[in-house]
Amino acid sequence: MLLTYFAFGILSVIALASGVMVITRRNAVHSVIWLIVALFAVGGVYLLQQAEFLFAVQIILYVGGIMVLFLFVVMLVNIDVALKQAQFSRQWLLGVLTAALLAVLLAYVVYNHGQGLNLPAQPLVSMRQGNTQAIGQALYQNYMLPVEIASLLLLVAMVGAVIMAKRKFE
């Protein structure tokens, strides 16, 4: 029991701290590395929620795929000139104020006049199947159409990315 709280504490501190590091680094490669750390921490949060399939998907897809893509592009466009320019835009104060306003709004909604989230308490029934089986059944029975649409989306994204990055031979 105590281990769960301890794990949650560590994971959330790592996730939030890495998030802050992502948006404040001068070197884009360092930002990518901190984002990888943040994604690991988020995967750990999934594991804490007994969503082990999602943890595996996060590591394989996000950390092992998307971040490698980011790293490739960052290395291709990482010019030294960019490292010496100003990193934050001129209206950074306005951006931070807007985010602070958003934070206040979120806190208000969540606290809800001091009651916290009024989620209906659910019975503590354990999942009868494993997590992977449950997700597999949901994906292929209830959510078959979104799966097909997602595959079409990925096809379009692949074709689009290849066309966008091709050199136009004159």
Partner: protein
């Protein structure tokens, strides 16, 4: 058992950090990375609520979010490469002409 509220706070915190990143940074790549942070914050919310209601639909939605993040990252990075080839910069402030 960790109260579900705590997970929602974590998700909101990560979301705010991502929003600050998108609004204040100049490097287009870091803006894209902040968007990934936002998507992950949303995923944390989805998984926490899915665990609360003992339904697997939240996790299925999270899988679709990850899939869409992959597609969007691919297309966005392709765009950045094309942009870099033409303008030699990834600074969002310097991409300010509608037609050149």
């Amino acid at each position: 058992m960790i109260p579900t509220d705590w997970y929602i706070f974590l998700g909101s915190g990560l979301f705010i950090i991502g929003v600050v990143g998108v609004l204040t940074r100049r490097n287009v790549l870091i803006i894209l990375m902040s968007i990934e942070l936002i998507l992950n914050a949303v995923n944390i919310n989805l998984v926490a609520l899915s665990q609360h209601f003992r339904a697997v639909d939240g996790q299925v939605f999270a899988i679709f979010v990850i899939t869409d993040a992959a597609a969007e990252a691919a297309v966005g990075l392709g765009l950045i490469i094309a942009l870099f080839r033409n303008k030699e910069t990834v600074n969002a402030d310097e991409i300010d002409l509608l037609k050149w």
